[in-house]
Symmetry: C2
Subunit: 331 residues, 2 copies
């Protein structure tokens, strides 16, 4: 149990809305295929001026404003994005720059576990706050998934969306109950190549790499393999997660799952036997926004009053890697 | 103070040694320029089979062997590299795969603050270990800097080297004194573009990016600007760092600085008034190996008995971002 409180959240969705019908056309399917297959009716695609640091900074500014805080009130800015803006430096520095904090000295670094980066970041940084090292930290997930889509790969093209979310956390004041109850992460690299962008890092350099193919720089997903691995692990993983915590699944008020795909969401909801009331679904108008997905869900849940102070909430998801993770908190 | 003990270290240097004279030829300078300018007489460049996950796994296997540990004895594998192997997934998963841990479930994620990634990772993860969340964690920094060198930019081409280092940390057993005494990080994004690789992430996509230039995928460094920023910050930063800790600089037995360049090392040594005995220099036969530089120094210091149990050691460096960080530990 760590005395951590989410004090403010915000999200940013790019101006440009892209409908399922537009994606149908792009991938050469008849109208209705994308909506039916992915469940994503609308997603947002970033324009050239909406880079990931720009979107992250817009979300963070709004989160600060809502809480009546200034940039200088933050002890650290952590980018918990699954994609980087540049190979060097880390994205958090570029967000600090977009915030106008060039001379602030606020420590900036990135935590990355692809789609689970935000949950991993929240889990990891919570120990620094609970111990008193940092008082108040911003976690920012900002993603431009669209730039890496391979439209020859219909399934993933139907799914992904862009956007950013910011979450500000503090040590819980005396007399309040907000906390992180527990968390667990497991990584099975047997699935490391089920979802990947092979290029862009040092393995396949765009100019110096050997036998470089255009596809190496696009997202490549073996959907059925990911689904099979998630399907196999979901229940035993949740059993291990809850066995370590002073909490039962039946006492969780709301589950906010990574919005991987409509099919993945159905799998989780069915396996965990969750009613629609206890299960957040927002893939239909966001798409899968990589690591921004879960913090967008937290923001949506708070805004729509589905997540109230005192509620017990489970963040749950899988990511490329292959990793599976759950984190239970009292809001 | 966190009760953390470094229990084992290892490093891996690629087979292919590259002399200063060879770099002189590559950049069109007469023999002696590189040695004189950078102080790097020999560095190692990775061959095609020596990818960053491969090198990281070799170092980690050796660190485990030296400690009589198996992969399954690790509670987490953290990649603390400044470059990624692939854009997706995180490098730690790919290291787990190279270790043969595909079905181990050991949690894997990356922490990135460019050249300071290892120090940031050690600092951050120490709170998870001190609190009992994880018992034993491997931090692995593995870098292929050579693939991103721009040989038209002589100064950075003269500096960089490839390689990997692994450090295994545990909670300090009762009755022992090993600890992290304190740490401080500051980020000034006024210097975010002094050292960067602009491409490779979502900002400049190799195929879809607008007005993409070859140089966008190579390391670009404004050496004098970095030096000026580091020079200005070094002393006041160290004053802030030590003012927060129960330790004086004069009681530090050994400083292990990031081996950024010969000039940067001279600056740090002079500003902090450190004798050669208290200051590790190994840039001459390693080069600047990005985030692998400081953990290689820890390994070298232990192997050469310059760092003994009970010694107080300061890790200190700057990174692209621009960040400056110090971490004091008792070995």
């Amino acid at each position: 149990m760590r005395r951590i409180k989410i004090v403010s959240t915000a999200k940013y969705l790019p101006r440009n809305k892209v409908t399922a019908a537009e994606i149908d056309k792009k991938i050469g399917e008849k109208e209705g295929w994308v909506a039916n297959k992915s469940g994503v009716l609308v997603r947002h695609f970033a324009s050239e001026d909406e880079t990931s640091p720009v979107m992250g900074a817009i979300a963070l500014k709004e989160a600060l404003n809502k809480a009546g805080l200034k940039l200088e009130d933050l002890d650290a800015i952590i980018s918990t994005s699954g994609t980087q803006a540049q190979e060097i430096p880390c994205t958090a520095s570029l967000i600090q720059e977009q915030m106008g904090g060039q001379n602030s000295g606020i420590p900036c670094f990135d935590i990355n576990s692809t789609c689970l980066s935000f949950v991993t970041g929240l889990d990891t940084i919570s120990y620094m706050i609970d111990s008193g090292r940092y008082k108040r930290v911003a976690l920012v997930a900002s993603e431009v998934a669209s730039v890496g889509l391979n439209y020859n790969e219909k399934e993933s093209s139907a799914l992904m969306g862009d956007g950013a979310a910011a979450v500000i956390i503090e040590r819980t004041p005396e007399g309040e109950q907000s906390s992180i109850i527990g968390a667990r992460m497991e990584t099975y690299s047997s699935g490391a190549h089920f979802a990947e962008i092979r290029g862009g890092g040092t393995n396949i350099h765009p100019i110096r790499g050997q036998n470089v193919k255009e596809e190496d720089f696009y997202f490549n997903m073996n959907g059925p393999a990911v689904f099979k691995q998630a399907s196999k692990l979901m229940l035993p993983f949740c059993e291990r997660l809850f066995s370590e915590m002073d909490l039962n699944l039946k006492d969780v008020d709301l589950v906010i799952p990574h919005q991987a795909s409509k099919m993945a969401l159905k799998l989780v909801q069915k396996r965990l036997e969750l009613s629609d009331e206890r299960f957040m679904t927002y893939v239909e108008n966001h798409g899968n926004t990589i690591a921004a997905s879960i913090p967008m869900g937290i923001h949506n849940a708070i805004e729509s009053k589905r997540m109230k102070r005192g509620d017990k909430v489970l963040l749950l998801g899988t990511s490329a890697g292959f990793s599976i993770m759950g984190l239970a908190l009292q809001y």
